[in-house]
């Protein structure tokens, strides 16, 4: 999905798969614009960030818990904050909250490196042709009304997500299940489900969707083609068991605190629109004995400054990732022992419009990519300990160690620009010094304007002139990624991408020919060679073999002989504030690289006064 980091709105929209493309302009953007960037921030070394208080926290952490296990957590005030129907939510904090109410099949480990079974007993069993996934559910799982959770509930949950009436955005990720596209399309199945790997269409009934309960606790998913990352998709909130009887009985009202029946560690106790959501421990949850929190109050606070103030006043214990720390406050907060951060699985790019004649030579693009001073960007501008990047796909995705070798650190991101090398490449390409590049970026707020200025001065050093085009975020969306291919006049667009699922395919798809027309490929880059290797990767189910293919793809993009359709800039960092007495699995609170947060692991230590 498109990450909005470069207009600072990453703070609120980060990791909202699909929806980040929607480019909403929340009030805070406008507000922050009014406040202007008066921030004068200091420099911090990457390693130092977020580590300040760790030793203290460990000594104070320990196993002693407070008597009163009630926590108050800040969340954003998105419109879906009042929605409790799992497939209908889209933003990350809502996904996190629903993970507390409903069990999903698999969850990520903290560093995002591996999937762990949750409502399932083990990782899915995958048939040799990669077309059948078998999931075994826990037998001790129960609903909050005491009824056992069965395979039929999961089947219904998947059907509910695919129901056209649900209008679920995330159904987009489920359409490779047999019959899913047909059911989700209704009468338009013939037009929508045309991919050549769909041999024949089903009748479009929910029962014809390839999800079946083979016994009380086993569900079989049948796919129309091998999808190597299908197991990753099963961590989404669309693969969640739901109660048919409850939804059919109450209709739209099934999610009110009186009607809702949940399967997760918590049940919904109270919902006050735009104000608070209260959840309470669900005694029927299989692991209820290990759930320490009796009650969580989520307070909807959209304004970062207020959220931070509420935290400092001790009225919230934990803030939602990125929403609590305004760039003006980062300096003050960074050294505190309650500041936590972790690299996000996300990238920021300068996309080059490869169809423009002046940028059509890969050597020119390579020179531009090399000419950017990334260390300066992360040290002097973003200041959250972000990581300069050599590759298109970021660190933290499985296989990074393998496929990142494809880039061979050609850009030299950590060292800063190699001016002579860049000049040499431009000379080889016969760069005309009279050319001026039009760079587009979000003007609303945040770091993009400063990053663009930095690039302007960096490129001046290698003899490339730049015209800066600050563009309001909503207009930028119409020239940049997400809506239409980059327009003819646009040369460079600053934009980002954040994971939908943890497979590098999510990044490499950005540069396929198909996605030029679809609007995801902001570089208008189309290479038969690249597409051929990409298609090969799609067919390769074995992860290790796939990573090797990704290495070729990476080399094709950012390697010494690569085409460099976009210059990777840096990998952003997630951060938040968490009181030192907030424990997670018995240890001091840490963010996950995916931004996902599992509330049942939290507790309050005896340190809380």
């Amino acid at each position: 999905m498109v990450a909005n980091d470069l207009d600072d709105e990453r703070c609120r929209r980060a990791s909202s798969p699909v929806l980040n493309n929607k480019r909403e302009q929340p009030v805070s953007v406008k507000f922050q614009k009014l406040l202007a960037s008066t921030a004068i921030l200091a420099v911090a070394a990457f390693a130092a960030v977020g580590c300040g208080g760790d030793s203290d926290k460990e000594s104070s952490g320990g196993g002693d818990l407070a008597k009163k296990q009630e926590m108050t957590i800040q969340i954003g005030d998105e419109t879906d904050a009042g929605v409790f129907d799992p497939p209908k939510v889209a933003y990350l904090d809502s996904v996190n909250r629903l993970n507390a109410l409903f069990v999903n099949l698999y969850r990520y480990s903290e560093d995002g490196s591996e999937m762990k079974p949750f409502a399932a007993t083990e990782l899915p069993e995958i048939s040799e042709d990669g077309l059948t996934y078998t999931v075994k559910l826990r037998e001790d799982a129960k609903w909050s009304d005491g009824k056992p959770l069965t395979a039929d509930d999961l089947v219904f949950g998947v059907q509910h997500a695919l129901d056209p009436a649900s209008g679920a955005y995330f159904a987009s990720f489920m359409l490779d299940i047999v019959g899913a596209c047909e059911y989700n399309s209704g009468k338009d199945a013939k037009e929508n489900c045309t991919a050549d790997y769909r041999k024949e269409l089903t009748d479009g009934k929910p029962e014809s969707v390839g999800v079946t309960a083979t016994d009380d606790h086993t569900v079989e998913f049948k796919l129309v083609r091998p999808v190597p990352w299908f197991d990753q998709l099963m961590t989404l909130q669309t693969f969640v068991p739901l109660r048919r009887d409850v939804i059919e009985k109450f209709g739209d009202k099934w999610t009110t605190p009186e009607n809702i029946v949940t399967s997760g560690a918590f049940t919904l106790a109270e919902y006050k629109p735009k104000e608070r959501i209260v959840v309470e421990k669900n005694p029927e949850f299989w692991d209820a004995d290990d759930v320490e929190l009796d009650k969580i109050t989520f307070r909807m606070i959209g304004e970062p400054k207020t959220a931070l103030r509420e935290f400092e006043r001790g009225r919230i214990d934990l803030a939602f990732m990125r929403t609590a720390i305004d760039s003006a406050d980062i300096d003050r907060v960074k050294g505190e022992d309650y500041y936590v951060s972790r690299p996000s699985i996300e990238t920021q790019y300068a996309y080059f419009n490869t169809t423009n004649p002046e940028l059509s030579d890969p050597k020119v693009r390579q020179a531009l990519a090399i000419g950017i001073d990334r260390p300066s960007i992360v040290e002097n501008i973003t200041k959250r300990g972000d990581k300069p990047m050599n590759t298109v796909a970021p660190d933290g995705i499985p296989g990074f160690d393998v496929f990142s070798q494809g880039a061979q650190e050609f850009i030299g991101a950590e060292e800063g620009p190699d001016v002579d090398k860049a000049k040499g490449l431009l000379e080889e390409a016969g760069w005309d010094e009279k050319e001026t590049l039009d760079v587009y970026f979000s003007s609303d707020s945040g770091n993009a304007p400063q990053i663009a200025e930095q690039m302007q001065s960096d490129w001046a050093k290698i003899g490339v002139k730049v015209k800066l085009n600050p563009t309001p975020g909503d207009v930028l969306a119409t020239v940049g990624l997400g809506y239409s291919p980059v327009g003819k006049k646009v040369d460079v667009v600053l934009q980002g991408w954040i994971q939908d699922y943890l497979d590098a395919q999510d990044w490499y798809q950005l540069f396929t020919c198909d996605n030029v027309a679809a609007g995801l490929n902001s570089s208008n880059y189309c290479s038969e060679d690249f597409d051929k290797i990409y298609e090969e990767a799609l067919k390769t189910v074995d992860p290790d073999a796939r990573f090797e293919i990704y290495k070729e793809l990476e080399a094709k993009l950012t390697g010494p002989d690569g085409d460099m359709p976009a210059a990777p800039l840096y990998q952003p960092t997630n951060d938040t504030v968490a009181a030192t007495y907030v424990l997670q699995g018995g240890k001091p609170f840490e963010l996950t690289s995916t931004g996902l947060l599992y509330y049942e692991n939290l507790a309050i230590s005896a340190d809380k006064k």
Binding site: F31, A171, N192, T306, G482, L520
Partner: protein
């Protein structure tokens, strides 16, 4: 009088229709279609478009809107979660009305009093003090005041420096509510003070005041019974639109001071992707509010100045 009110209300219907039609046409003229996210599968996009009736022609969509509207329904918000617009508004309108109403009331009370005092002490030290205060309050944008208020810091000259206070803000208790009401009230108050001061000064120069004094009417009675009543007319005329401004203008305060109100939903609905049904609902609500307020204003003015009613 009753027929007058009924006639006015009747004529507000075409005004409302025109307002929604304008809003509808302007929303449609935006070069942006919701749900054209390239990551959405065609079927998902189509389902969403059908859910919102976007697959129909413009005229049919407007007709849909009117049919829903007559039934007291505003359709679904196009923001994630597909929540009904009516639910969003009924959930959050009360807080905004309470915030707007109370700050309007208190700022009117205090503002008018200060304006009268200022006029009576014309060019005196109190007048200067009040005018200075009103101008300062007028010049300070509410987002600055709200931010400072929430931060709880009071900046004083050295050697005192910064003092930290715990000002109330939020919406949980009435004590918390004092914060947003005070900050919003401070933003409106100068309007009253300045209007009342100006019109009061003018009224005090009028011949009827001289006549009343000449006839031996006590000063107090002359001021409160005659001058004040007449000087209230421009204030009341301006108060109607001002109240509508208060409701929509409080979004920054709602956001910073955590008021669960509707104002910032209003503003957000205009952001991209534009939330067409929310924008239409907002237009109807605000238009209706202004129509009603103008009616109320006219009635009050007629009461203050019987000549208006006779016209």
């Amino acid at each position: 009088m009753v027929t007058y009110i009924l006639r006015r209300l009747f004529w507000s219907i075409p005004v409302l229709l025109l307002a929604t039609l304008l809003a509808f046409v302007l929303v449609k003229a935006m070069p942006y279609e919701p749900f054209n996210d390239p990551k959405l599968a065609p079927s998902v996009r189509q389902n969403l478009r059908e859910l919102y009736g976007l697959d129909k022609s413009g005229a049919a969509q407007y007709a849909d809107f009117l049919t829903d509207f007559v039934q007291g329904d505003f359709g679904l918000s196009t923001k994630p979660g597909n929540r009904p617009v009516r639910e969003i508004i009924t959930d959050t309108l009360p807080a905004t009305m309470v915030l707007g109403g109370l700050s309007f009331f208190f700022s009117a009370m205090i503002g008018i009093t200060l304006g009268v005092i200022s006029a009576l002490r014309h060019n005196g030290i109190i007048d200067y003090a009040i005018t200075f205060f009103a101008t300062a309050a007028f010049a300070l944008p509410s987002f600055v005041v709200a931010t400072l208020w929430v931060s709880g810091k009071v900046y004083l000259p050295p050697p005192i420096g910064v003092i930290q206070f715990e000002f109330p803000y939020g919406w949980d208790s009435w004590w918390d509510r004092v914060g947003p009401i005070a900050v919003l009230g401070l933003a409106i108050m100068p309007y009253f003070t300045r209007l009342v001061r100006a019109s009061m000064l003018e009224a005090l120069e009028q011949e009827y005041v001289t006549t009343a004094r000449a006839k031996g009417l006590p000063w107090r009675r002359t001021v409160f019974r005659h001058a004040l009543r007449n000087s209230m007319i421009p204030t009341v005329t301006n108060a109607g639109p001002l109240f509508a401004f208060v409701l929509t203008g409080s979004f920054i305060i709602e956001r910073i001071m955590i008021v669960p109100g509707v104002a910032d939903q209003f503003i957000e609905s205009f952001g991209q992707p534009i939330d067409s049904r929310m924008v239409l609902a907002t237009t109807v609500l605000l238009s209706a509010l202004i129509i009603v307020l103008n009616l109320v204003v006219d009635l009050i003015v007629a009461w203050l100045d019987p000549r208006v009613a006779n016209d």
